[in-house]
């Protein structure tokens, strides 16, 4: 049964099921949805996911629209190497960290990213066009987010708090990786895949706080993940300079 995956770049939420499926050894039918052209709010896509969020996975009669639970589904529904630890305590730790990445680290990192990348990338268009684009967004929370990004409505205080949180998160992640080889413990898992999607470009986005001197464990963790064939395969699907930032993790680049 074919798996259809509707996704943007191998980055953040889109990259999570892409990497999980690749690690599982599942080929998927790739449908590229250009976030910056608002493909996700077009009628054709809204027929698949009425919420207008990406990614979306279609497997048989099932339509899945939440990226982290989608990763668990990739592990549960298909044959292939297990992507979750067998030990329930490690599995709990994996899930805790995925929620930490999704609900605490990512919103702050993405607020910074949207203010310097997504917002400027779409802001040149006429205001009427942007307002019409916002009006097509089904979810109120996403309308608020897009309005903030499009019209640069992030306050200095919000961005400063986001930066504080990103630095804090890098600190506790570094500390965690001094105690555990992988996010869950002894086993490479969905938690690492989730974290990689959030963190692969952190050495470039936050060079003063994420580097070989200050966060050697994070750097080594990112490099170990990027050396995996699945990550190489998925990040090669990137179409923009954003995904290309992953090449910073190649060891030869700094030898």
């Amino acid at each position: 049964m074919t798996v259809r995956l509707y996704h943007w770049e191998p980055n953040a939420n889109s990259g999570k099921p892409m990497l999980a499926l690749a690690e599982k050894g599942v080929d998927f039918e790739s449908h590229y949805i250009d976030l910056l052209k608002f493909d996700q709010h077009q009628p054709d896509y809204l027929k698949i996911n009425p919420d207008g969020t990406i990614p979306a996975m279609v497997h048989g009669d099932h339509v899945l629209t939440e990226s982290t639970p989608m990763m668990e589904y990739a592990d549960d529904a298909f044959d292939g190497p297990p992507l979750k630890p067998a030990d329930p305590k490690e599995r709990w730790r994996m899930r805790w960290w995925m929620r930490f990445f999704d609900s605490y680290f990512a919103p702050s990192a993405s607020m910074i990213g949207w203010s310097i990348f997504v917002g400027p990338a779409v802001r040149q268009r006429p205001k009427e066009e942007l307002e019409a684009a916002i009006a097509r967004i089904p979810l109120e929370s996403r309308r608020i987010a897009w309005r903030k990004a499009m019209f640069n409505q992030f306050s200095e205080a919000e961005l400063a708090e986001s930066k504080r949180r990103v630095i804090f998160c890098l600190g506790i992640l570094e500390q965690h990786l001094t105690r555990h080889e992988w996010i869950a413990g002894r086993t490479y898992s969905l938690g690492d895949m989730n974290g990689f999607n959030l963190g692969y470009a952190m050495p470039l986005a936050q060079p003063d706080y994420c580097n070989d001197a200050k966060t050697p464990r994070i750097m080594e963790w990112l490099r170990r993940i990027y050396e995996r064939p699945a990550a190489k395969k998925i990040w090669a699907l990137g179409r923009t300079a954003m995904a290309q930032r992953v090449k910073f993790l190649e060891r030869a680049a700094h030898a």
Binding site: E66, P88, K89, W92, R99, S103, I144, K148
Partner: protein, 260 residues
Amino acid sequence: MLELYHSEPNTFFLKPLIALHEKQADFQSRWFDADQLEQFGLGLDGEVEAHLNLEREGPLLRHDGTLISSSFFMLEYIAEALPGVRLLPKSAHDLYRAHASGQFLGAHLGSLVPILGCVKYTVPRLQRDRARVDDCLKKVEPQERRLNWLSLLDGTYTPEILATARERLKFPVSRVEATLNSGPWLAGPEYSIADIDAFAMLRVLPDLAPDVVNESATPRILDFIARIEARAAVRAALATSRSGKPQQHFVPGVEPSRWG
């Protein structure tokens, strides 16, 4: 050894109590008074996950030395690690539905319900002893956890913000009602952790948001609450209350989205 640190059996604290009773698990109840902020004096040494507690306040489960935090993941842990009834959906897709439900309701109900409950019930109790509360909160880390309490006490939640919170409840509540319209449980044909998770937050809404959850607007949710309240494990969990009114005891919950 299995120990559950919890306060009154409501919202976050109610979830693991139900699951442990469903499992008929042999556990030690370690009750603390959240109104007295006793959770900050428990002296539990855990790793970063217990210290940060993504829900900010809530139960902690100590199993053979490891501290488990975050109520939905605690439910998954109880379901997976302990013998007894399964509590997990069987098919991969129903498991997905359970995970997605826990994530969605955790973000929406997990932030909105505690605000409404704390403002109505907890804050008036805390204000009676404000100097002691302020003194205790001074030492609380991480700062998000401290600020969560202080925002309740400093007037952040104006009537307008509370009205917005009630309005925003309509989105998750309508999704739950729609799901229950197509089947008796939230994640497939059988009762599961998704139902326990949702029930613990929905149960208080006929009181906190009667305009949103009522017989006319959400008959399926009211039926769902009644069916779960009738379960022996739920009655046993609610019987751990020391106040006799657990539905009037709240702690601050998940931080509302910083994106607005």
